[in-house]
Point group: C2
Chain length 208, copies 2
């Protein structure tokens, strides 16, 4: 992957540029935040996405202002953050968080090829709920026409990761103040059926 | 709060502009994503923040490239997203997510007044770990000098919220396909002590 010169070097020792580090973070995140500029004004929109090979894909309504703005190939910054823990030091100054984040710079490619668009929507659905695509009512041509899919190449990207315990100042380490980590976890809870599904068996792919 | 003309009207019926809706979302989120533009190139950085009255506050090292870029008063877009659930419809097309998000447009005010800077760091610490500030080793003047705190006024902001069950197409409602919601929750797990804290009692404010 290219070294992304564009990236603010906030903390160079936490930076990673390899797919082995970046892809799993993208694959775990349920959404990304996409930023773009219009007349020096930044805008950010959270949206679902999926990585497939060396691109990420998003989708939206063909009428969406956001999609119509960025589909022209505007430079975007895609940001993904996974919070893993609160790092509780002996001083407030040394408090921090454990996290895994990715920043990606790219320009949208609009997916015109209908089979690729359909595939992108399948990848997206399968990412959020694995093994669900074939169970669902098939997508119609009209739905495909109403949807825009955009791809962004992952070639200017970096990950930043912090793990482990606090780094208290040497002179603080002996203080009788508790320090450590409070892990944070995002959990999927038990599915809740809507009115139309009270007597429909929960399919296997939705069981916890 | 002013009506934020700047906001892309992706889905006007989900938009809210009142503090009663916006503040609790800001108060629950552990981090925000701050976007800014330099020469038409967007950048995004995730960072901890706290709301106090009608402003949000962030902090960073005085040497941070990110802080030094935005402290001059560049327009920024602050994005906060809380994921509440996966909305599983009978068609992929009607799949969506339940979420609460805030978008805020502002320009940084650099906090020069030392007591306010210290207060902002206290609010930030207390947000992440309530009742912890007085327990920690007090902040030193040197630590305060090494830290920049920035404030952003919450007067061009909007929240977007989706709750509830899927909105399947009327002709899909009778299909024998399970639909409903998979709630998503972010949890704090049991604290893990570091080596220096094995025999230090866990303080009450850190107990689950």
């Amino acid at each position: 992957m290219n070294s992304p010169k564009l990236i603010p070097s906030r903390d160079a020792k936490k930076a990673h540029f390899d797919a082995e580090t970046i892809y799993p973070i993208l694959d775990e995140a349920l959404y990304c935040t996409i930023s773009y500029c219009v007349d020096k004004q930044p805008y950010s929109i959270p949206t679902a996405f999926v990585r497939y090979e060396d691109k990420i894909y998003i989708h939206g309504s063909v009428g969406s202002h956001f999609i119509r703005t960025i589909e022209k190939g505007l430079p975007v910054c895609v940001s993904v953050t996974l919070m893993d823990g609160l790092v509780i030091a002996k001083s407030a100054f040394s408090h921090t968080v454990n996290y895994r984040s990715v920043i990606l710079f790219a320009e949208a490619e609009k997916i015109e090829e209908i089979d690729l668009k359909k595939a992108a929507l399948e990848w997206l659905t399968e990412k959020i709920v694995p093994n669900s695509w074939d169970y669902l009512r098939p997508m119609t041509d009209s739905e495909l026409r109403k949807t825009t899919a955009l791809a962004f190449k992952i070639d200017q990207a970096s990950a930043k990761i912090r793990t482990g315990m606090p780094n208290d100042e040497p002179e603080d380490k002996e203080l009788p103040i508790w320090s450590g980590v409070i892990p944070i976890q995002q959990q999927r809870l038990a599915p809740v059926a809507d009115e139309s599904s009270q007597v429909i068996p929960l399919p296997e792919h939705l069981m916890l």
